[in-house]
């Protein structure tokens, strides 16, 4: 894992740089200073952070109040509690009020692995997609993450950024430029398309390499920008593909798999779609990341298996 970096560290560095550039950023935490890896920020700006204790509703409401007063409020705590515990505060105080709050959902997906389902956020994208006004991003690599954060801090309005809880290697070279709404074609091929978001993009890239060894060419599409999303571009990238697999560490409902299904249907594609993720009506198992992904078939091996099944049933 060359150049692997934890996305929370990317986030904190972006905050430090932004304050240095004169942005009035106030991180709001719910006792989550270690989760946010925010010690370097506190060291530089000891009086800037607001810690409301273990109280996510107040975390989000307070962030909205800070934003109404002209601050750029950035919440930094675990995604499962941010989106579930403070659901109505996200809906009302942040989204409905259209406040300039940036919600950072840390350790999203099943990053907390063995800590079990209270600590898993496999519904966050589907929940936030139901709210108005808010933009939604799921970075897959450190460089992309930094560019998304820089965009989000400059954008005026609510943003949710889903961050994985493990160090992620770089997928992009220095020429990469994130654009809100744009899809990110990582690999081209004609036999099958893989569409993924967040950390599972790495599994898709790995799976594409393994499929290439078997003579199957794979198109790998990263969707970092859940909203806005250039649906026309996603449709075009899937045009002519007969087989599509979506991959996410999220429930198959409401995440990138649902988005792909919507686009395929809305644009009249005839492709067959297999959505890989946490199954309909299920929770992620409590297990180490590797074992959890294998169990739910969202690791590279699982993707390869599904791809071969689709190829054999074509």
């Amino acid at each position: 894992m060359n150049n692997a970096e934890h996305l929370a560290n990317v986030m904190v560095t972006a905050f430090i740089d932004a304050v240095g550039q004169g942005m009035d950023i106030i991180p709001v935490v719910a006792d989550s200073t270690s989760t946010a890896k925010i010690a370097p920020f506190i060291e530089k700006f000891p009086d800037r952070i607001v810690n409301v204790g273990i109280a996510e509703q107040t975390l989000v409401g307070t962030a909205a109040g800070l934003a109404l007063a002209g601050k750029i409020a950035v919440t930094c705590n675990a995604a499962p509690f941010l989106i579930a515990r403070a659901n109505e505060q996200v809906k009302v105080d942040v989204c409905y009020n259209n406040t300039n709050v940036k919600l950072f959902g840390l350790n999203a997906g099943a990053s907390y692995g063995p800590l079990a389902s209270t600590h898993h956020a496999i519904d966050d994208i589907s929940v936030v997609r139901g709210f108005g006004n808010i933009q939604i991003f799921a970075p897959s690599s450190p460089l992309e993450c930094r560019q998304i954060i820089d965009y989000a801090l400059a954008h005026v309005g609510p943003v949710y950024i889903r961050l994985d809880g493990k160090a992620l290697p770089e997928l992009h070279d220095e020429s990469y430029r994130f654009r809100p709404g744009a899809i990110d074609l990582l690999r081209d091929g004609n036999d099958i398309a893989l569409v993924a978001m967040g950390s599972t993009v790495h599994e898709a890239v790995d799976a594409a390499s393994r499929l290439a060894d078997q003579g199957i060419t794979t198109r790998v599409i990263n969707v970092p920008s859940i909203r806005p999303l250039d649906r026309e571009a996603l449709s075009e990238s899937l045009r002519g593909m007969d087989r599509v697999i979506s991959v996410e560490e999220h429930n198959v409902n409401g995440g990138v798999g649902s988005i792909v299904a919507e686009v395929l249907a809305e644009y009249g594609h005839g492709a067959k779609l297999k959505r890989l993720g946490i199954a309909d009506g299920d929770y992620a198992i409590a297990a180490d990341r590797k074992d959890m992904r294998a169990w739910h078939g969202i690791d590279a091996a699982g993707i390869v298996q599904q791809a071969l099944n689709m190829m054999n049933h074509a």
Binding site: A55, Q57, T58, T62, G65, L66, G70
Partner: protein, 276 residues
Amino acid sequence: MNPFLLSVPELEKKARAVRRHIINLNANSPAGGHTGADLSQVELLTALYFRILNCAPERVEDRDRDIYIQSKGHAVGCYYCVLAEAGYFPLAWLETYQHANSHLPGHPVKQKTPGIELNTGALGHGLPVAVGLAIAAKRDNSKRRIFLITGDGELAEGSNWEAAMAAAHYQLDNLVIINDKNGLQLAGATREILNTDPLDEKWRAFGMEVSACQGNDMHAVVAALESLTPCGKPHVLIAHTTKGAGVSFIAGKPEWHHRVPKGDEITLAMNELKDL
């Protein structure tokens, strides 16, 4: 500074005008209303907007203006009538309360109505947001104060107490929480549904400076609001009110939580609310 600075007799006259607007506004609503809750907080909101608050329609962009948050969003009818009287929008709009896509929806919507600072309606949201506003004012060395009115039934929402702890921890003495304590909520008496008493002891235990007043007595309301001085703690003013205050057949009647006046009731109410 408040642009009106009305005397207590002038405030009492203004409160009667607000009550007449409340009767008409609810009578014209095609979708019911919260007449009892509206009438309950008339003195509180009238005193705030016409004597206490440092805010005015032409100063909505002023970063130092005081902020009022209507946490009990269902009493929006009173809020609209006071904002209209204060010049935030034309009085004629009051006839459109809850009409299709009106400027005056059934709960506060800042994108629709000038003067509204926060969209509310779901209960227990005002105080956490007020905490954020108050922290920001402290950090900006602003003299801004944040006022909000909560219902006593609303205090069953736990988010209020989370936020109260944060407010006390950050010593937000620029924050004024007014409890419109009328003792009634949707399903009946607050004491019987979920007793929030003793409220004063609860707030003190959470680190607040607490005072109380008769919330439908303008003299008492003005005296209580003007006696608040920064003391390192958030302020709580427990305003003992009567739901439906000012109209004899509405006052203290739980069924007026979600009722609007009709026919003869309008005439009867207006007779009671004539200027003295």
